[in-house]
C-alpha cells in the first residue's frame, strides 16, 4: 500500500516528535501511521483507548501527541481517552477525529487545536494539524 509523499517537510523540523495513533479501523490506522512515519515522526499504534493508556503508561515511551478516533469499541471512547490524557499526561496534546457530526462541539472543549477533524480526512491534514499544535505550543 502506498502513501502519498506530497509533503515530507516535517522530517526536517520534527525529528523526534512521537505520535500515538489510536484507531480501531486497521486500514485507516495503517495508512495514517505509515504516512506520519514517512514524514519523520516516531509513531505508536493502538487499537483502542485501553491499549493507548498502556502505551502512555509505559516508562520507556514519551508521547507528544495522541491522534485518536472518537468512536471505538471497549469501555472508553476517544473523549474518555482525551480526559484521561488531560488528567494523567497534561503535557501530551490530543487531536480527535470522528465521522459523527454531533461530536464536534464536545471535541472542541477537549482539544487544543479546536474542533475535531472530520472523517474522511487526507493524511496531509493530520500532519498540518500536528504542525499547528506544535506551533501553538511554542507560543506559550
Amino acid at each position: 500500500m502506498s502513501t502519498s509523499s506530497t509533503n515530507l517537510s516535517a522530517k526536517a523540523d520534527t525529528p523526534l516528535q512521537t505520535i500515538l495513533v489510536v484507531e480501531d479501523e486497521v486500514l485507516i490506522r495503517l495508512v495514517v501511521a505509515e504516512y506520519l512515519r514517512e514524514c519523520g515522526y516516531r509513531v505508536h499504534e493502538a487499537v483502542s483507548a485501553e491499549e493507548a493508556i498502556l502505551i502512555l503508561e509505559a516508562p520507556e515511551v514519551s508521547v507528544d501527541i495522541v491522534f485518536s478516533d472518537v468512536e471505538m469499541p471497549g469501555s472508553m471512547d476517544g473523549f474518555g481517552l482525551a480526559r484521561w490524557v488531560r488528567s494523567n499526561r497534561p503535557e501530551t496534546q490530543v487531536i480527535l477525529t470522528s465521522g459523527a457530526e454531533r461530536s464536534a462541539d464536545i471535541a472542541g472543549t477537549l482539544c487544543e487545536a479546536g474542533p475535531l477533524m472530520k472523517k474522511p480526512y487526507h493524511t496531509q491534514e493530520v500532519v498540518d494539524r500536528i504542525k499547528q499544535l506544535k506551533a501553538t505550543a511554542k507560543r506559550f
Partner: protein, 132 residues
C-alpha cells in the same frame, strides 16, 4: 581506491513484516525493533485485523502470536495463509510450547525483540543493522 574497484549495489526495498500480537506492549516493542533493523512494519492487534491487512497489502513475513486473546486465534491466520497460492513466511510466538505443526520458526514468550528481528533478517536475507 580506484573507481574500478568500487561496486555500487542498488538499494533494496525493505521487506514488509506484519506483526500480529494482541498484547500492545509486546507489539510495539517488537515492531520498533524490526523498524530499527530497516524493515517496513505493519501492526495488527487481532486475527480479523491481520486478515484485513493480508487481503489489502503484500506482506513478506508474518510475526504471528498464536495466543491472540480475542476474536479468533493465530491459527485462523495460519489457515488463511496456507490456503493462499503462495504462502507467506511466518515466525510464530506463544506462551505455550512449540506446536508440533508450527508453520515457521517458533519463539516462546517472553522473548527479546532482537531475537525475533534476527530470525526475520535470516528468513528474509536482510542484513543486521551492524552489517548494513
Amino acid at each position: 581506491m580506484s573507481a574500478a574497484s568500487v561496486t555500487v549495489l542498488p538499494r533494496r526495498t525493505p521487506p514488509t513484516i506484519l506483526v500480529v500480537e494482541g498484547d500492545v506492549r509486546i507489539r510495539y516493542r517488537v515492531s520498533d525493533e524490526l523498524r530499527a533493523w530497516g524493515f517496513k512494519v505493519l501492526e495488527a492487534g487481532s486475527a480479523p485485523e491481520a486478515l484485513t491487512v493480508l487481503d489489502a497489502v503484500q506482506v513478506d513475513l508474518l510475526v504471528l502470536a498464536l495466543d491472540l486473546p480475542v476474536a479468533g486465534s493465530g491459527w485462523d491466520v495460519v489457515r488463511h495463509i496456507r490456503e493462499r497460492p503462495v504462502p507467506t513466511k511466518m515466525i510464530v510466538t506463544s506462551e505455550d510450547t512449540d506446536p508440533p505443526d508450527s508453520p515457521g520458526p517458533f519463539v516462546r514468550k517472553p522473548y527479546r525483540a532482537a531475537e525475533v528481528a534476527r530470525l526475520a533478517a535470516h528468513s528474509l536475507n536482510w542484513p543486521s543493522p551492524t552489517q548494513a
